[in-house]
Amino acid sequence: MDFEAVIGLEIHVELNCATKLFCDCPNRPGDEPNANTCPTCLWLPGAAPCLSQAALEKAALLCLGLGSELQPLSAFDQKVYYYPDLPKGYQLSQAHLPLSRGGGITITNERGEARALRIHHIHMEEDVAKLVHELEGRQPISLVDFNRAGAPLVEIVTEPDFRTPHEAMEFLKALRTQVRYVGASECSMENGTMRVDANISVRPRGSSQMNTKVEVKNMNSVRHVGDAIAFEIARQSAAVQAGEAVVLHTRLWDPDKKATLPMRAKFEGPCVPDPSVPAIALTPAWIETLRARLPEMPAAKAERLVKEHGVSAEDAAFLSADTDVAAYFEALTAHGVSAKMALHWIATQVLPAVRERGQELSASPVTPARLAGLLTLLARDEINANAAREVLVALFQSEASAETIVSARGFRQISDTGALDALIDQVLAAQPAALADVRNGVGKATGFLIGQVMQASQGKANPKRIKELLAKRL
């Protein structure tokens, strides 16, 4: 039987707010364990949660960035479960009245078709504490670190619109880009600022029924999400084929075994509205003020780059995947660099160089203005590509302009016909065999001769001019 998968995602994103969701403790989970705590986020008796305005704004901005509709009224509920990472026994989450509903992201599937994947709703919640399991001698102990307790999270719950691992992965990549755009989170699955649970069920292809789903957790990269979903589809398809029933449960992805394994049964009760946090009423005026703070989003930016700069849709997608890259590109073109050259240099030279040096593009010493100086010389044929690459290295090492470096280090290329002819004479006289090859039609001999002339010029000759002059002579 041919099966298709029905997949929905639940994505937790940790907001990069300065403080926690319900108290003023610093939102820095990585600090010395339990350094960032107070009675509220230790959930001690008598504590009262106070919703952070900054977290609400950031969460709302994220919703707007994903095209989700902010709700006029939302509220927190108590999600009850008993586990040592949540000593108060309930997590404050928006179960009944979420912050926003709807929205979605359009991705391109394996067959190159556009697929609109819908978001069901987005809600806020507090993070729980972190458990650290250690050995004290031979006695296993579990330690609780409350630095993360009460950290601001949003959970993005999608519709079960996904059919393949590829779609889930593309959605997550696009989501990450968009959340980074609005500045709400770094969305790093590796660092745990984005955590993804996948709900997966299978059914005969063409059927519209919804079968029992299995939840898979513990993937710490986008790749792992794809692998875990693929594994689970295969596992469930085989089970159904063998006549076994799929039962509702949660599984953990084991990256070493490359398999999902069943975990503890999930206890989940209906959530009770929390009486301590007032309901959140958003006015249209507040929402519009917030919307004005929304940057140009990736899809709109890519579309504009295609229109204004004539780049391909693929290149536009590459550029707009990171606001810094797009901004760098646009700054270069504003300095008169052609879109093609700007794109080529960013992708093949600047980004690798910045990454190698562990810098941020936006803080790189090679500003768009300085690079534009170099690329203008290259475009005018005043230097050749080899020299340009060396000048780029020099730009990273000093504050001098490209012009100054080129002059000081003699990178300007020789284009003068007389000087080049003299060099060519010299080389032809020294390489009679190669000259004969060229005349006998051995193609690669021409390249050899150009290389010899370049060498004779100590790399300064204009290779295009050499080629032209050689052609005339042969």
Binding site: P39, Y82, Y83, P87, P270, P273
Partner: protein, 399 residues
Amino acid sequence: MTPITLFENPNPAPAVPDGPLYGTRVALQPTISVAGWPTDAGSAALAGFTALEDATVVQRLRQAGAALTGLTRTSEFGFGLHGSQAGEAVRLGAADAELVLDMMGECRVAAARAGAYGLTPSAGLLSRLGFIGLIPSMERCGLLARSCGTLHALLAALAGPDGRDLTLEEAPPPAPAPLPADARGVTLGVIPQALDGLPAAQAEGFRAALARLATAGVAVRELPLPEYDLFALVHMIVGSVEASSCAGRYDSVRYGRRPPGAKNWNEMYLSARGAAFGTCVKSFLIQGAFFQFERYAAYENACRIRARLVAAAQRLVSEVDALALPLPDRVPEDITAAPLAETCAPFGCTRLASVTGQPALAMPAAGACGALQLVGPRLGDARLLALGETLATVCRGGK
């Protein structure tokens, strides 16, 4: 005899040299956080827990120059009055006032029991930061004292916005409408259904009090409310579900006693909480868990009905100066663990205000006049106290 106090403040001198409450001796309960004081809320689940910071109301008591005398014994989490000594410090003159957590009328019944006045202020008027109770949406800081004047001074010092409790009213309460010059011109509303099933003696005392007020010129109007029984029902369902959900905070794991021998976390939770909670609280939590997990729709209905009851009660109150409701002035003497029904029995008539969030004033019995409660419009606390003062004069035999 059980001592009244759980903890006596070794240094009760006021923190500031003057203030509107300067020298007023106030006793607290261990359900209200005082930094450094034992704060077990009367439960073994919190045995050994010490509050890290003052409740906002405690901070304000200090700022107003009050002398904090210590903590009185309380029922478990302040729920009901079994095992509670609330009101005794005032009755015996050991304190001028007490703060008593009120979730179903504890402060009001305790006041009547002590022959004192008790105010359950409007919901949203006093900060709830630092309270350790069972029903967040109903728990309020009750004030108990020998006169309405003291209650008024306490209310003025403690009420008002608190940046750490965002459920409070942001604006100050509206200026009270002027009172009639004396008892003539005051109109009280009586819900006849509130007298159904009342113990004969209590009904008698209540009627006597109304008759006394009527002879002094107070108009008494009957305001039928066929849905009256629903207040108790809504209180039981909504209150117990809130308790079941939020009592997870009282885990008896980070504080309290942790029984040895558990093989894993779940067992530890079960044995610790099983050993810590008393019978009555356990029954209440189990009832709440039943509605939360097995009859959630009934809980949602109860919440909807509550909204309707709030509107109905507010409408009734708007037709009169205040509602008059009966109030028992004694609770069964047995202070050992009582079953849930017995614990809740004295609170039949006090739950109305607990459900609606309206202010309620307990007036003690005087002679043949039984104790009674006045329920005013929300945020009409100041006027309710003034009304209470006028009517108290009448009940005590004044003009």
